[in-house]
């Protein structure tokens, strides 16, 4: 029978550290939070080798008194909490007094600090938990912590670390979260001596979002600020057109702390229901503020989960606030649909731009000659449509349309199966761009390009889903010139690209050598394909998954292969297109999320003409 033994302290600290410190980004998160709690206004983070070698956090906060330095590395020692009751009124980021103890237990840490009112600071070192003597240190007011050789005494943990770019991705994610939740803070992040982010203190939240996630996303944001009792929800939500392939771009902060909450995440997705295709996720940066006693943050070692006293109220607030806000935006779009019939994107992007998401848009000029054809006829079609349609705008119609809104395109999106076609539908092509079809429900206006694109996209996706990807190797590698940053970024994602059939080698000086490409894209130049993907990589906040990349490439292909606005279709082509509509899974949006079809119900027409 095994006997019970008290574990030695060294093991205890390692176990405790294991919960809090999982990877370099955990260290960064904990140290940043300490700096924030110390009232810093400027924090410099410097990491080397994705944080596995060195993490250095320098702040200008209140510092630590020399006499407290020994306690700083002790477990359950903190300045942020004194009694158990405080646990329910937590106003600081940390409170458990574990972070430094944990970090000190698994790394070689040097802590140097000087309170602003002291003439001299002090430093202390921790080598895997063994503290060095306190020595005087003469530095600027604030605290400087250097963490070297993380997990040097826990080789197993070290082995479980991912590649340098991945770990660095986590580190910048930790910095991103903190920068978003503390808009008054100046934050600098450097990696291997190179600047990654420099966030000035003056940048408000929306600028920070632009900084981290691209200016295009910034343009697609709607501000939100709703108070409900003690709860306040504010922040920015993105237009449905900015949808992503994963929920990673849904940032939720509770009392300034980034958390993961399945229930609130669900509420957000629910609010976007009908506006996103299945499998796509909304983008949002939401801040939920509530009295500290309404939320328990002490349930997860890294505090990334919280428990609400009234979780239903929080759920309800997110759902209704976001939905209401979206409805406000969509209101105008839908009104115009019902009165003017302009299939206008809510965010005002050019209706025919390749994609409303930031990534593929810049591709146009790079892609095969087909792409060059787009702007010409497209613009014409657009300008031909708009003036003609804008005339009949009637104020009267727009005032009494509130009850009609629900019957607009959304009613169509909620139908799982397309309307059954009457045996010989009457079809009319307008402006060589739109098809008008008579159905039992009403008049259907179809964007021929968007619908065809969607059908082709589904088709291609299905094929790829079933078979493996064929890769054509190049006999003579194709040199592709990129900016140094793009090249570095691309090389980081070599693995993911290879999975897509794009194998790249470094040629030096921003030039990459492309040695293979997916055969299915054979009619496009391999260089064009790679550049398309690179543009995608550079604008993305993190490495896109194979699925997302593939999706993007497929939609690009579909876009080029589809009939264009301005193409005159024969009667046969029209009926074939309309008939295929039922074959695609999700025909009401093109792969970029633009609507393909708008329904003007017969009832609606009758009402407009005062027949009912």
């Amino acid at each position: 029978m095994p006997r019970i033994l008290q574990l030695p302290t060294s093991v205890i600290t390692k176990i405790a550290a294991g919960e809090v410190i999982e990877r370099p980004s955990s260290v960064v998160k904990e140290l940043l939070e300490n700096s924030v709690d110390a009232g810093s206004t400027c924090i410099d983070v410097e990491v080397e080798q994705g944080g596995t070698e060195v993490i250095r956090v320098v702040d200008n906060g209140c510092g630590i008194h020399a006499d407290d330095l020994l306690l700083a590395f002790a477990s359950h020692a903190t300045s942020k909490l004194s009694s158990a009751d405080d646990l329910f009124r937590i106003g600081t980021m940390g409170f458990r007094g574990e972070a430094l103890a944990s970090i000190g237990g698994v790394a070689q840490v040097t802590l140097q600090s000087r309170p602003a009112d002291r003439t001299c600071g002090a430093e202390i070192g921790s080598n895997g938990g063994e503290l060095s003597a306190i020595r005087p240190w003469n530095g600027a007011p604030g605290t400087r912590i250097e963490v070297r050789h993380l997990f040097f005494n826990t080789p197993v943990r070290r082995k479980f670390l991912k590649t340098m770019p991945t770990e660095m991705g986590h580190v910048s994610e930790a910095v991103t979260r903190l920068a978003l939740s503390h808009p008054q803070l100046q934050l600098n992040l450097r990696h291997n001596g190179k600047r990654v982010y420099e966030v000035p203190a003056s940048a408000p939240l929306v600028d920070r979002i632009g900084l981290f996630f691209g200016a295009d996303l910034k343009k697609q944001l709607y501000e939100l600020d709703v108070q409900a009792g003690p709860l306040r929800l504010h922040g920015w939500i993105a237009d449905p057109a900015a949808e992503r392939g994963s929920a990673k771009m849904q940032y939720l902060f509770v009392n300034g702390r980034w958390v993961r909450d399945r229930s609130l995440g669900h509420a957000l997705q629910e609010a976007y229901r009908g506006l996103l295709m299945t499998g796509r996720y909304a983008v949002a940066f939401l801040f939920l503020d509530l009295p500290p006693d309404q939320v328990d943050v002490n349930i997860h070692p890294t505090k990334s989960e919280v428990r609400f006293r009234d979780s239903h109220a929080a759920y309800h607030l997110v759902l209704t606030a976001v939905r209401e806000r979206l409805r406000k935006e969509n209101l105008t779009a839908q009104l115009r649909v019902s009165t003017l019939g302009i299939p206008q994107m809510p965010n005002g992007t050019a209706p025919w731009s390749l994609s409303p998401s930031p990534a593929p848009a810049p591709l146009l000029p790079l892609s095969a000659p087909a792409a060059a054809a787009i702007p010409g006829p497209v613009r014409n079609a657009e300008s031909a449509v708009l003036p003609a349609w804008e005339q009949p705008a009637s104020e009267q119609a727009s005032t009494d349309s509130s009850d009609r809104l629900e019957m607009e395109p959304r009613s169509l999106t909620e139908e799982s199966a397309p309307a059954p076609w009457i045996s010989d539908p009457k079809v009319l092509q307008l402006y060589d761009s739109y098809l008008v079809v008579e159905t039992p429900e009403g008049m259907l206006v179809i964007d021929q390009h968007a619908l065809h694109e969607r059908i082709l996209f589904e088709h291609l996706k299905q094929r790829i889903g079933t078979g493996d990807l064929e890769i054509q190797r190049l006999l003579i590698p194709e040199p592709v010139d990129l900016s140094a940053e793009q090249a570095a970024r691309t090389l980081e994602h070599r693995g993911a690209l290879a999975e897509l059939g794009l194998e790249v080698d470094d040629f030096g000086g921003g030039t990459l050598l492309l040695t293979s490409y997916p055969a299915i894209l054979g009619h496009r130049s391999p260089q064009g394909i790679l550049k398309a993907v690179v543009d995608h990589l550079v604008t993305q906040e993190r490495p896109p998954t194979r699925e997302v990349l593939l999706n993007d490439l497929l939609s690009l292909m579909a876009c080029h292969a589809a009939v264009r606005a301005g193409d005159r279709l024969t009667a046969d082509q029209i009926s074939a297109l309309v008939a295929q509509r039922s074959l695609a899974n999700d025909t009401h949006h093109c792969p970029h999320g633009r609507p393909t079809t708008l329904l003007f119900s017969k009832h609606d027409l009758d009402r407009q003409f005062r027949r009912v």
């Binding site: 291609l460 094929r463 064929e470 003579i476 299915i520």
Partner: protein
């Protein structure tokens, strides 16, 4: 000028010259053919400034020498649609008139002096190749050049002369063809260290003017242009600029597998197997085993195919996949009874097809 032209002969000459007429009217005067009539015959000129051709049409009987510009498209149409044995061409500065027994076509004339001059073949240092050999070399390489590429040099065919051997090289980055043949050096010298890439359009025109096998073609390569001269025709072309990839490096260094093949049956098997490929799955699987080659293809919607071909092969089993086009493109330009060897290392490195000593074709597999 005034001339009596045998219709058929003039038609084929005009069609040939029209290859050099630009399809877009950058410069309207270039849409014409220029006819220069002298006592002993007529020369037709056409150019798009990149490529120019002078064609002699000897069977024309010239009554009155002179020069004229004739719109290429209309002229070809007239010659094609009429049925007369012989047509009369009469031009003044104002009009050009073509007359048959029961028809007459009048076109406004243009000033022949406006037509840009096309360089003639000066008795320069040059190389000589027999027309038959050159035509075969062009046929075996030009198809492999890139249709469009960001590396422009690959859209043409590289010419090399070395030790009385002429060599043509073409690649699109996925496959590469090298054909060589005997040449006589008339002071042209080795082209080592120089790059002469002739655009594929010029190569196509050159191939078309090489009709008589025993004729000698004179080739003069200059830094930015090239001239080719046969008995009847002179072709001038500008060269494609840019560095050509070092093609010698793509040849597999050491191959471990050698498979003897015969073009006809092999091509037939490849084409059969390729029936079941489609846009999304172009792969044909080549399984080499003792005494047998099995080809397989499977399309996403089309279905699958399996074709077996007996082989005179005793080596180890090897499987390699190709885009069937890259293989059949090459097989198509070889005679059906020609012997071919396929040299391989494995399924992921370049494969080398060899026909005799003067034709090699390297192709990269699909994986």
């Amino acid at each position: 000028m005034k001339a009596h032209c045998p219709r058929e002969a003039l038609l084929s000459a005009c069609q040939l010259a029209s290859v050099a007429v630009p399809s877009r009217d950058v410069k309207p005067v270039l849409r014409n053919l220029k006819a220069i009539a002298k006592a002993d015959g007529c020369t037709l000129l056409a150019t798009d400034l990149e490529l120019g051709v002078r064609l002699e049409v000897r069977s024309i009987k010239v009554d009155e020498p002179g020069e004229a510009l004739l719109p290429a498209g209309r002229l070809v149409a007239i010659l094609r649609e009429t049925t007369d044995e012989e047509l009369t061409l009469e031009t003044t500065n104002e009009t050009s008139v073509i007359r048959g027994a029961a028809n007459e076509f009048e076109m406004p004339g243009e000033d022949p002096a406006e037509f840009p001059d096309i360089p003639t073949f000066a008795d320069d240092k040059h190389h000589e190749i027999s027309a038959g050999a050159l035509r075969e070399m062009i046929r075996r390489t030009a198809f492999a050049a890139a249709k469009e590429s960001t590396r422009y040099s690959m859209t043409g065919v590289l010419w090399e002369f070395e030790d009385k051997v002429a060599r043509l090289i073409a690649t699109d980055g996925r496959r590469l063809a090298v054909a060589s043949g005997p040449a006589t050096d008339n002071g042209g010298g080795d082209t080592k260290g120089q790059t002469h890439v002739v655009p594929t359009k010029s190569m196509a025109l050159l191939e078309r003017v090489l009709q008589d096998d025993d004729q000698v073609v004179r080739v003069c390569l200059k830094p930015n242009e090239a001239l080719f001269k046969t008995d009847r025709a002179t072709i001038y072309t500008r060269l494609v600029e840019g560095r050509y990839p070092n093609y010698k490096e793509v040849f597999p260094k050491k191959t471990t597998v050698k498979v003897p093949l015969t073009v006809g049956p092999f091509l037939s098997a490849v084409r059969q197997a390729a029936i079941m490929t489609d846009e999304e799955s172009k792969r044909v699987i080549f399984e080499f085993a003792k005494k047998k080659l099995t080809l397989k293809a499977r399309g996403a919607e089309s279905g699958r195919s399996k074709v077996e071909l007996p082989l005179d092969y005793d080596g180890k089993d090897v499987t390699i996949n190709f885009d069937a086009h890259y293989v059949s493109d090459m097989l198509r330009v070889l005679p059906a009874d020609a012997a071919l060897t396929l040299e391989l290392v494995d399924g992921s490195t370049p494969a080398l097809f060899k026909h005799g000593t003067d034709y090699s074709y390297v192709v990269m597999p699909l994986t």
